[in-house]
């Protein structure tokens, strides 16, 4: 994308005023998306985003500027803007010598999406529409979105790091509306992977569409969700967002270092049920949050955050690791070249326990079974979090009975982690997610086996 000599000169310019660290992050991303709604392929969109962000660190101050101009002139102008933002002073010349560093080899792309015809992609949408509409007479509306991207990134910094990565992703989202006597209900399914178009050879998208339709139809007969605190069983692969919100964000070192996380200063302590081992893993072969390198050039890694309930480590980016004099963990990520990197999760999941999932349900006399969670959010300083349940059922006498209407669940992260009292042996990853933090969205994955939380507050209306 940019010649090594140019990078070395631009970095040299960026630290000429006396800054300790400078970095060039360049990105070239091509994307295609297609949307189908109301029985029509509404639009195919092609996009191109290309540019570089330059970061200069001096003391505790970071200056940042970006440009869409990848010529040496454009990069130098951005380097000077970033250096000036990090404030002037000092002096001296530093020579920068870059050495290529390898990322984690996560998988091999067989078919790049930009080599696949648009009509083949549009055909996927039509198959989804047909399958969802034929799932039942009550299905009144279907929308589907296809998206792919090929993102090449390059990171070079004054520590001599030079690293590149190519991140290829594909995504399908399906939303269905069913209509009945009591109004409308919705269903949703999605799949997203970090791999080439061959992902669609291995995924039954008609089955995904039928599942979205099934969720909407099931809820037509749903009763209002209960109100109050009770045991909650969360199905395999549907509740990873619980860990993402309940503790993942609180284990990000930028929040920890400002003491705005309930998990600050708790390393080595028991913070969760001893059943829980929590991992953040950017190396999983084709998962949505998988990366070869993070957006600071560090190889992605498998990081154990909680082992048998004991907090082992936080997640780190360059700045926070430098401050603590320790290694980065491959969690420095950013939305695009227009953004500063921050500590971010990749694929975050809980390892298997030993229980049979059916036994977990049977062991629950009265509670709620959640087959699908929606989005969530957390206040990391208090640990209070919410997430939406988009498909849920009552558990009565150890059996799953009636479907419930949608609602939020609310809990406190540290409390919920301690309250996990049964953990299944049926680990599965969940739907692709976009994690938002400080206005930036990045792709993340999550997963967990079926598990039970002893008590969570269900925010329904039935008292």
């Amino acid at each position: 994308m940019i010649e090594q000599g140019v990078l070395e000169r631009v970095l040299g310019l960026a630290v000429r005023g006396g800054a300790e660290f400078a970095e060039v992050f360049a990105e070239d991303k091509r994307s295609t998306s297609a949307s189908l709604d109301d029985g029509r392929v509404e639009q195919v969109t092609s996009g191109r985003d290309r540019g570089a962000g330059i970061r200069v660190v001096r003391g505790d101050t970071t200056g940042f500027a970006h440009t869409a101009d990848l010529t040496e002139t454009g990069l130098c102008a951005a380097a000077e803007a970033a250096a000036s933002a990090a404030s002037q002073g000092g002096g001296g010349v530093r020579t920068i010598a870059l050495t290529s560093r390898a990322g984690t080899k996560v998988n091999t792309v067989e078919r790049y999406p930009d080599e696949v015809s648009k009509s083949t992609k549009v055909e996927l949408l039509k198959r989804v529409d047909d399958a969802a509409r034929s799932a039942g007479a009550s299905i009144v509306q279907v929308s589907a979105g296809y998206g792919d991207s090929r993102r090449r990134i390059l990171v070079a910094n004054t520590d001599g790091v030079l690293a590149t990565d190519e991140q290829v992703r594909g995504l399908m989202r399906i939303s269905v509306v069913a209509s009945g006597d009591a109004g409308m209900q919705t269903g949703f399914q999605s799949v997203g992977q970090t791999v080439g178009f061959e992902m669609f050879d291995n995924i039954d998208i008609e089955e995904l569409a039928r599942d979205a339709a099934r969720q909407a139809m099931v809820k037509l007969g749903a009763r209002p969700a209960p109100s109050g605190s009770m045991p909650v069983v969360i199905k395999q692969g549907s509740g990873g967002v619980l860990f993402h919100e309940a503790c993942g964000h609180g284990l990000e070192a930028d929040l920890v270092s400002k003491n705005s996380s309930v998990y600050a200063g708790k390393t080595g302590e028991l913070v969760a049920s001893p059943l829980v081992t929590l991992v953040d893993d950017g190396t999983m072969s084709t998962e949505w949050g998988t990366i070869g390198i993070d957006d600071e050039g560090h190889p992605s890694a498998y990081n154990v955050l909680i082992r048998d309930g004991i907090l082992t480590d936080y997640m780190w980016d360059y700045l926070r690791a430098r401050k603590e004099g320790r290694a980065q963990s491959g969690n420095g990520r950013r939305q695009s070249y227009m953004h500063l990197p921050m500590v971010r999760m990749t694929n975050t999941y809980v390892l298997n326990g030993t229980e049979e999932p059916d036994d977990i349900i049977r062991a629950t006399d009265h509670g709620v079974y959640i087959a699908k969670l929606g989005g969530g959010s957390v206040n990391t300083a208090t640990g209070d979090f919410v997430f939406g349940m988009t498909e849920a059922y009552l558990i009565e006498g150890g059996e799953i009975t009636e479907p419930l209407r949608e609602g939020n669940l609310i809990g406190n992260g540290p409390q919920v982690l301690r309250d996990i009292d049964l953990l299944g042996n049926d680990f599965a990853m969940g739907n692709p997610g976009t994690c938002g933090k400080d206005g930036q969205g990045v792709p993340v994955g999550d997963g967990q086996p079926t598990l039970r939380v002893k008590a969570l507050t269900i925010g329904g209306t039935a008292t």
């Binding site: 709604d37 109301d38 029509r40 392929v41 509404e42 639009q43 195919v44 969109t45 092609s46 996009g47 191109r48 985003d49 290309r50 540019g51 505790d60 101050t61 970071t62 200056g63 940042f64 970006h66 869409a68 933002a85 648009k118 549009v122 509306q141 509306v177 109004g183 409308m184 209900q185 919705t186 809820k219 109100s227 109050g228 605190s229 400002k258 705005s260 309930v262 500063l340 929606g374 989005g375 969530g376 959010s377 206040n379 300083a381 208090t382 209070d384 979090f385 919410v386 939406g388 209407r405 949608e406 609602g407 939020n408 609310i410 406190n412 507050t457 925010g459 329904g460 209306t461 008292t463």
Partner: protein, 446 residues
């Protein structure tokens, strides 16, 4: 350098016979300063530009964009958009906006003083806000204190005769707080917005940030029950944002609004009169033109509780057998316009919040919500959101509560509105805040 309008004009001049072409071109920039413990933590200075081109032929639509205004790239974008046309399904209502004779209400959206504000002053504003915030209560820490400003210039042109350009800028400061008491920590925030820093009220932002965090100290999880809910203006504005998605003309024609086929019916309390009026200069999101280049205008959506109408873009208007209401919303050059409310306001009542609370025998004042995006389904109407606030007992504000939800359905909530305050607050959202009292909701807690 060519003007943005020239660039857009040159693109549409290349339309071939039978092609309808629209070009949207924009250039924007922002400054973000974050201060922590009196020092600059980061300073971001960023500018970007780009173009989005929509081509319609034989009822089929194609779109492409690029984050550059490089000439070769623009040619590539037009070629890609044309190529993408081949894959769309013909749609008899597809088309671009055409001039509709509605005059633009001119607004002052640009401030020269902000455009030339010195960097040092921006940093000083963030530092000053941090200092002020720490001055109220020894238990309060600052998580971060921020100054941000942004400008955007844009131009749109299409082969149906639309040709408009404009620019606007604005700035805001915000501060995040933490209050500690023993093992307990609570959080708060404060902000102030303006067309220039002269409009900031730093002292108010600082006091609110301090108060929001400290008033939650000692908060408990309440028990579950049904009660009256008072939405603080900041929360009410977010609630109106959810209501607006049911009034979206595109959702209506596609069968995704619970209010489809209900125009003329009583869907809300008689107190409830909702207008969308981006021509009101008090609105944070005031604008003169919509995302397709038509004049922004005042639209009455719900009048005395009776559903009056929906908001439309040119596409949804045409398909619904009516016309655009000037409500095309564009998220930048990377997408085609959608439909949405631009600046909603609920007709205020006569009394202040304290007087409304005095009438509540058993209730809760909701001061912040979380998970509006996850627990509310505007298609089914199911409404459930995480909340924190203070209990109300016999007209008196009581102790703080947190880690609970309030739930109902959108349909029922609108009918259950029993009071609206006179405390209109023009928040940095697409709706103005005002206190709303809802007679009966379910609180879920311990």
């Amino acid at each position: 350098m060519s003007s943005l309008q020239d660039i857009a004009d040159r693109v549409i001049a290349q339309a071939k016979p039978g092609e309808h072409v629209e070009a949207f071109v924009s250039r924007d920039g922002q400054t973000d300063v974050r201060v922590f413990e009196g020092e600059v933590e980061h300073f971001v200075s960023a500018q970007s530009e780009g173009i989005g081109i929509r081509v319609i032929r034989d009822g089929r639509t194609g779109f492409a964009y690029a984050g550059t205004l490089d000439q070769a790239a623009i040619a590539e974008v037009l070629a890609e958009a044309r190529d993408n046309v081949e894959f769309g399904t013909p749609d008899e209502w597809a088309g671009l906006a055409a001039p509709d004779g509605v005059d633009v209400v001119q607004q002052v959206l640009w401030n020269d003083q902000l455009a030339s504000l010195a960097t040092e002053r921006k940093i000083e504003l963030a530092k000053e806000l941090e200092r002020l915030t720490l001055g109220f209560d020894a238990r309060v820490r600052v998580d971060d204190s921020n100054y941000s400003d942004a400008f955007v210039e844009s131009a749109v042109a299409n082969t149906s005769g639309i040709r408009r350009s404009g620019r606007e800028n604005g700035c805001y400061v915000s501060v995040g707080t933490l209050a500690d008491d023993g093992d307990e920590t609570q959080t708060g925030f404060g902000f102030s917005v303006g067309r220039s820093p002269d409009e900031f009220d730093l002292a108010k932002a600082a006091r609110e940030a301090s108060d929001r965090a400290t008033r939650l100290l000692g908060a408990v999880k309440p028990s579950s029950k049904r009660l009256t809910v008072v939405l603080d203006p900041y929360v009410a504005a977010q609630f109106l944002g959810i209501v607006s998605s049911t009034l979206n003309g595109e959702a209506v024609i596609k069968g995704r609004s619970l209010f489809k086929d209900r125009v003329g019916e009583q869907v809300a309390s008689p107190l409830f009169t909702l207008v969308d009026d981006p021509t009101n200069p008090s609105a944070y999101s005031a604008t003169d033109i919509d995302g397709e280049g038509l004049a922004a205008r005042r639209n009455v959506l719900i009048d005395g509780g009776v559903l009056h109408g929906f908001v439309h873009s040119s596409y949804s208007g045409r398909r619904a057998g009516t016309t655009s209401t000037g409500n095309a919303v564009r998220g930048g050059f990377k997408s085609t316009p959608g439909v949405g409310c631009l600046a909603m306001q609920l007709q205020p009542g006569a009394r202040m919040q304290a007087d409304l609370i005095a009438d509540v025998s058993d209730g809760v004042l909701i001061e912040s919500v979380s998970g509006m995006h996850s627990g509310v389904n505007p298609i089914s109407g199911d409404f459930s959101t995480g909340a924190s606030g203070r209990l109300i007992s016999n007209g008196q504000i009581g102790g703080p509560v947190r880690e609970f939800t309030i739930a109902s359905t959108l349909q029922k909530m609108l009918l259950d509105v029993i009071e609206i305050g006179n405390d209109v607050d023009w928040l940095p959202m697409r709706a103005a805040g005002v206190t709303i009292v809802i007679a009966d909701m379910t609180m879920s807690g311990a």
